[in-house]
């Protein structure tokens, strides 16, 4: 695009600006913008950068606690984990690019979230991902699973950060809009955190990393636009990742961060040089002047517009202390990365860009940032669904139902996925994928982090408020189940078109539910990302507020894992079982129904139970722990058995509806195992804490027996559970 491009209504529309927003542009500029300036407004005011639809509601989330060092607003959230150390983490979506080009979309998603974390001074130590794909029967699903998994692995494996867990769901609502939410956790010294606010008029602005090409131009606005059938033609704007360069960039940045050279640093993510330079200046209350001729470029003849909007990967912008340029240059040259002084901080409060000696853009920073649109979009509360009485739900033979459930796409083993991720590099992975939460030792210490991602989108559709509460509560539960004290969460809110009141209602209610749970559980939100317009031809995804969470284990030798450990242990159920079948997997997979109100979460009990379970783990009273979630009690028992190769006998209580007892998804429950000698101690402790606890069976053998209903061999169950995904992926029309 040349400088002369006329600013026609079509051009304005293609930049995603409404007529009202363009009016505001004219007001701020005092004249018509040129195309470069329009491009800058467009990306800064895109949903992706401005959170214009969700900001009002995001502000209601709790973000503080004594252990929170930095909440939302920076590249990632920072929490204190004691001993002068901090954990830095965030989850971010790369949904639209991954649908268009799954390998590169997912790979660059991982690259972007890694940069968010090491930009703040942390060495990345763990990756997670939360993936949602369409119906397995949809013709694109297999190709997308294949590409996304290969892309996540391709990037994470190469850079040498273990991918330690995550979750994967399948549902037809994601047929045209898959979700790829990637999370990175890093570790830093608490007194060596780096921020993005520029400071020091006259200080040099430095560009490091890869060269700038024409890739990804308008990715940020694409990420904020609804899909239509012709989106597949958008392929050329997808950027390509280079994990090797990013590995060098991590090492170079961490090496420079060990000196005192850096004043501020920001990665060039979505909207590239525009948002990084703009945000640094804006946060510092300063101006910035850049000579775009100095930007390292991969292609010839790039215009200012293209340079500013390029989303080439593996690039960073930093402000250095005066006189430290040579030191910084020598570090980046050692790692064979580009290094260029591209500008200087000014006191004008304006962003001034030059190309070929002429000023090509000149705009005021504060007015643009402050006028960033914030909408109070109309919303309607969701219609409450009826509570389903278990007695009305057909009672299938429980062991046959169990087979169906452990082999259904959402519950089938995801080994095929996580075996493609290096989950052991860095030598601190204490619990590998497949458990309730990953456990990663804090390198060189006796502490560990528990890490999990959670969300149950079918609950969120049924009741966004309850679903928001449940997503947070389940993350809390999964951390507790490995013995980690839950500290903070990052959220990745994936929804449809917020301009529709019913979708906006989902957003509002889910955030309100999350906020309630976070407050009740002392579990603040420290970072997050919003992905809206996940709709194709007017059909929205299930509301998916994915939660990533981090907890702390004080003694890495005192954790718990889900496999049974030995025959003869008692199995203890913590929490109340009423047999809630509404919105359950049983209802969906066995009865073909996706209705009913979701199980309610009792937050006061949730906290008490979590404290209790962690206490039992710390006292080493228990041999195995697993939270009871998707699929209910019998599925949870089967998972513990399959993971260990040790069977179990379960004794259902008398007078219950067996199918509801086995497969109801009542919240706030855990399964513990313990040697018989410990059982009285545990039950007594539960009683003292006013927690429901009962022995429901014992471990042993190679079969799973449900007393009164029969027996199934673990070998058969495991075959079903492990078989589905590899079978699906190797079906004849698989793409290579």
């Amino acid at each position: 695009m040349s400088k002369e491009s006329a600013i026609t209504p079509e051009v304005i529309k293609s930049h995603g600006l409404t007529a009202d927003e363009y009016k505001l542009v004219l007001e701020i500029m005092g004249r018509a913008p040129n195309i470069t300036e329009l491009g800058i407004f467009s990306v800064m005011w895109s949903e992706h950068c401005s959170y214009k639809s969700s900001k009002k509601w995001l502000k209601t989330l709790p973000t503080t606690a004594p252990w929170v060092i930095c909440g939302p607003g920076e590249n990632a959230g920072v929490i204190d984990i004691g001993d002068g150390e901090a954990a830095i983490f965030k989850m971010e979506s790369h949904n639209h690019p991954s649908f268009i080009e799954p390998y590169q979309g997912a790979a660059t998603g991982v690259g972007g979230i890694l940069r968010d974390v090491f930009t703040m001074g942390a060495r990345p130590v763990a990756n997670m991902n939360a993936l949602r794909f369409g119906d397995p029967a949809h013709p694109k699903t297999r190709h997308l699973v294949n590409g996304v998994v290969a892309g996540i692995g391709g990037y994470g494996n190469c850079i040498g950060v273990p991918t330690v867990g995550g979750e994967t769901n399948f549902h037809a609502s994601y047929n045209g809009n898959i979700l790829v939410n990637a999370m990175t956790v890093g570790l830093a010294r608490a007194d060596r955190i780096f921020y993005s606010a520029a400071a020091g008029v006259g200080n040099p602005v430095v560009y490091v990393g890869s060269k700038t090409g024409r890739d990804g131009i308008h990715g940020a606005t694409m990420a904020s636009a609804e899909f239509s059938e012709d989106s597949e033609e958008k392929r050329p704007t997808v950027q390509v990742g280079d994990p090797f360069t990013e590995k060098l960039l991590v090492e170079a940045c961490l090496e420079l961060m060990a000196t005192d050279a850096i004043v501020a640093i920001q990665d060039m993510g979505a909207a590239g040089l525009t948002s990084s330079s703009f945000e640094m200046a804006s946060k510092g209350g300063l101006g910035i002047e850049m000579d775009l001729d100095a930007v390292p470029m991969r292609e010839e003849g790039m215009s200012a517009y293209e340079i500013m909007l390029s989303e080439s990967q593996e690039r960073m912008l930093m402000v250095l202390k005066p006189g430290r340029e040579d030191l910084a240059r020598s570090v980046f040259e050692k790692w064979e990365l580009d290094f260029a002084i591209v500008g200087v901080l000014t006191d004008t409060g304006r962003m001034v860009l030059k190309r070929h000696g002429a000023v090509v853009a000149d705009l005021p920073i504060d007015p643009l940032a402050q006028a960033s649109p914030e909408y109070d979009r109309p919303w309607v509360p969701g219609v409450k669904r009826a509570v389903i009485d278990a007695a009305e739900v057909p009672a299938h033979e429980p062991l046959a139902a169990l087979k169906t459930l452990v082999g259904c796409p959402d519950l089938a083993s995801k080994r095929w996925i996580w075996q493609q991720y290096d989950h052991m590099v860095m030598g601190d992975t204490v619990q590998r994928p497949g458990g309730d939460a990953a456990v990663v030792r804090v390198h060189g210490s006796n502490k560990a982090l528990g890490i999990t991602t959670d969300c149950t989108p079918r609950y969120c559709l049924a009741d966004p408020h309850e679903g928001g509460r449940q997503a947070v509560a389940e993350a809390y539960r999964n951390l507790s189940a490995v013995g980690a004290r839950p500290l903070a969460v990052t959220d990745n809110l994936n929804f449809g078109n917020p301009e529709k009141p019913e979708i906006m209602g989902q957003i509002v209610e889910a955030i309100q539910g999350m906020g309630e749970a976070c407050r009740a559980l002392d579990f603040p939100v420290v970072s997050g990302n919003v992905s809206l317009y996940n709709e194709t031809n007017g059909t929205a995804i299930l509301p998916t507020p994915a939660i990533g969470a981090v907890g702390l284990i004080d003694d890495v030798n005192k954790t718990a894992s889900l496999p049974f450990k030995q025959a003869g242990d008692s199995i203890i159920l913590i929490g109340e079982t009423k047999g809630w079948l509404g919105a359950s997997l049983y209802l969906r997979e066995l009865c073909g129904r996706e209705d009913g109100a979701p199980p309610p979460v009792a937050l006061h009990r949730e906290k008490r139970e979590g404290d209790f379970v962690r206490g039992q783990i710390a006292e080493q009273n228990v041999s195995a722990v697993h939270d009871v979630s998707d699929g209910g009690l019998l599925v949870a028992v089967a998972e513990m058995a399959m993971a260990s190769g040790i069977g179990a006998e379960i004794l259902p209580p008398k007078g219950v509806a067996l199918h509801a007892w086995c497969f109801g998804e009542d919240q706030g429950r855990y399964l513990l195992t313990a040697p018989a000698s410990q059982v009285p101690v545990i039950l007594e402790a539960a009683h003292q804490h006013d927690i429901t606890a009962q022995v429901i069976g014992s471990t042993g053998g190679r079969d799973l027996t449900l007393k009164g209903s029969g027996t199934i061999s673990l070998e058969e169950l495991t075959g079903i559970n492990e078989g589905w995904l590899p079978g699906f992926m190797s079906a004849p029309d698989a793409n290579s």
Partner: protein, 229 residues
């Protein structure tokens, strides 16, 4: 025992192997950056895993032609033990220190999991602490670990007892079902003719601590310390 770990741009198991070495030797190994051409006198040289040069062109190809590798080769010829793990194995085969080549896994995917290995020879500094024909558990993590050499080379390796480890079942049986990547004759690791160079795809440094799930890998490092101190 004094050890050196060679670090290339893109190496990512350099720290892991340094930790494992330090746990066995009591002192941190020397980390040698690829641009260095001088290598101090050491008892063991480790070429670690990772993605040197991003695995671009071919895994290990560019690292194999770096100046430091010429020095490693010279030391190996003079008898200094060299251990190449995963990408390090790829590098030293590309450099001609060991015969054959590591090709793309038969099922084309990166694979990270524990495998069982049968210990084929114990008369080397690397395997002396294992029992003959012992079955050990170590993790693999690679997309290109499919060992290939022509039939004559494979026959020679077997005939001269230069196969160090083979992929096996938990019971030690060497079968196609136990072969995770399509390697010729289930080969997971091979020795040089004097058994002073070992290249293997599995990662001994990753299971060298019970907390991480096992310590069969530690046996290798402990054996090296005994042999080379």
């Amino acid at each position: 025992m004094k050890a050196a770990v060679i670090v290339f741009p893109g190496s990512n198991c350099d720290r892991d192997v340094a930790v494992a070495l330090e746990a066995s030797t009591g002192k941190a190994p020397l980390m040698v950056w690829h641009r260095d051409t001088a290598l101090p006198a050491v008892d063991l040289i480790v070429v670690p895993g990772g993605f040197s040069y991003g695995d671009y062109l071919r895994c290990g190809a560019m690292a194999a032609h770096s100046p430091i590798l010429r020095e490693v080769k010279a030391r190996a010829e003079a008898g200094t033990p060299v251990l190449g793990i995963c990408n390090g194995f790829q590098i030293i085969t590309e450099a001609g220190l060991l015969p054959g080549v590591l090709m793309r896994n038969a099922q084309l995917k990166f694979i990270c999991k524990d495998v069982f290995l049968k210990v084929e020879r114990t008369d080397s500094p690397f395997t002396r602490a294992y029992a003959q024909d012992a079955v050990v558990r170590l993790p693999i993590a690679h997309a290109e670990g499919n060992y290939y050499a022509d039939a004559a080379t494979l026959d020679r390796l077997e005939g001269e007892g230069l196969v160090a480890f083979r992929y096996a079942g938990a019971d030690g049986s060497v079968s196609a079902a136990a072969n995770p990547n399509g390697s010729a004759r289930n080969i997971a690791g091979i020795f040089s003719e004097n058994r002073r160079v070992l290249g293997l795809m599995p990662h001994p440094e990753r299971l060298a601590e019970d907390l991480l799930g096992g310590s069969d890998g530690k046996v290798m490092f402990d054996g090296l310390v005994e042999a080379l101190s």
